[in-house]
């Protein structure tokens, strides 16, 4: 083969590009789990929540969430008739050990579990400067902690306050929708431990999932719909005072 130096230099970049395409190769995934066949979300049945804090404890145990930080938490609302836009909200230690006992009064009380909404158009992934956080092809918002710089842009960008900087790892951390569980066919730790079924993992791409019938026949809301985040945590019977 008679290859001049000039031709060699021209061919090298082309060969490098081709080699990269070869290296990218096929994805390594859990067996029988196909990314393209799922679109995960969560249904939260507000009137069923009793504020026991089981979900918060289960999440912390399953995901080694550091003390004082929360991937999911429960808020207690106390809303008066006249001042609906100014609810009194408490979440002592994220509701981990439940809530103080209260007596009936003229205002209404209810609990609202909060967590990452796994937005389809998530503001948090859009601001990441290094491509460390992303919406996976199955709709779960994840963080590549080996890539994260810990700049906390995403922590500021999340309108729901669902992210934090891990105090030891110094990188962003958040709810993974128990990705290590749902890809194995299990439900999330919070759903598994909720005693009243107030939380339900849903797969919007699964035609047999009862969520489709539920969404069709019930009035369901997402948090901060005006922000057009494409949130996939669906709240049933959510009070207008919840922010």
């Amino acid at each position: 083969m008679n290859l001049s130096r000039r031709h060699f230099l021209v061919l090298m970049p082309a060969a490098a590009i081709a080699w990269k395409a070869v290296l990218a190769g096929t994805p390594e995934q859990a067996e029988n789990y196909k990314l393209s066949e799922h679109w995960w979300g969560m249904l939260i049945d507000v009137p069923k929540c009793i504020g026991c804090g089981n979900c918060v404890r289960a999440c912390a145990a399953e995901n080694d969430v550091p003390e004082g930080y929360f991937r999911t938490w429960v808020e207690r609302y106390h809303v008066s008739d006249e001042n609906m836009t100014n609810p009194e909200v408490i979440s002592p230690d994220g509701g981990k050990e439940g809530f103080p006992v209260v007596k009936e009064d003229e205002k209404k009380y209810f609990f609202v579990p909060k967590m990452c909404n796994h937005c389809a158009d998530s503001p948090c992934t859009q601001v990441c400067p290094v491509g460390a956080t992303f919406v996976a092809p199955d709709g779960v918002v994840l963080i590549d902690q080996t890539y994260c710089l810990g700049c906390a842009y995403c922590v500021q960008a999340c309108p729901y306050g669902c992210r934090y900087i891990h105090p030891e790892k110094k990188v962003a951390d958040k709810c993974t929708l128990c990705y290590h569980r749902i890809t194995k066919g299990l439900t999330t730790a919070c759903c598994e431990s909720c005693p009243t079924g107030a939380r339900q993992l849903v797969d919007l791409k699964n035609p047999k999932d009862p969520i489709h019938e539920f969404l069709k026949t019930h009035s369901v809301q997402v948090l901060k719909p005006q922000m057009a985040t494409g949130a996939k945590a669906f709240y049933y019977e959510l009070d207008g005072s919840v922010r």
Partner: protein, 163 residues
């Protein structure tokens, strides 16, 4: 030909650019993970890395393969839809190695009260009691079997007892 000869210094310069480009590609090849860009502007293998984390909650399906007696008792009662680990805690290690990892029995005084202590904030239809008033310090499981809590037969309280 003479034009090419005169432009030789330009070709040398272009050659330098090509070299720099190749160096850039070579460095890029080593610093950018192979799976970056596979699905989008992120490392594709991060997905499988996260999916590979170990589980702590075995899931009720795992419990039910062995504890069929409890499943039967539970299926008839009010707690039919409460999963095992909601009360017993994360037990994936027990499910993997039942002999050496044995679960600790939960303390009903804490456990039952978490859900059933009466407070105005809970949904009205949910069964709630004031623990002090309800049992006068008698442990919950004296009357209620946690797996099927309705009081029946010999466990039934005398008239005027707990509601």
């Amino acid at each position: 030909m003479s034009v090419l000869k005169d432009a030789r210094h330009l070709f040398r310069f272009a050659g330098l650019f090509v070299l720099a480009f190749i160096t850039f590609l070579a460095i890029r090849h080593y610093v950018v993970p192979p799976s970056f860009g596979q699905y989008g502007h992120y490392r594709g293998n991060a997905i499988s890395d996260i999916a590979a984390r170990p589980i702590k909650f075995a899931g009720h399906q795992a419990c039910e393969t062995c504890h069929t007696d409890v499943l039967d008792a539970k299926s008839k009662g009010k707690h039919a839809h409460v999963n095992c680990e909601a009360c017993h805690g994360p037990l994936a290690r027990h499910a993997e190695d039942p002999a050496s990892v044995t679960p600790v029995k939960p303390d009903t005084a804490v456990l039952c009260a978490r859900c059933h202590t009466a407070t105005a904030a809970k949904p009205k239809g949910f069964p709630q009691v004031d623990p002090a008033d309800h049992s006068n310090g008698v442990a919950c499981e004296t009357c209620h079997q946690p797996h099927s809590p309705a009081i029946s037969g010999s466990n039934a309280p005398s008239a005027g007892g707990a509601k």
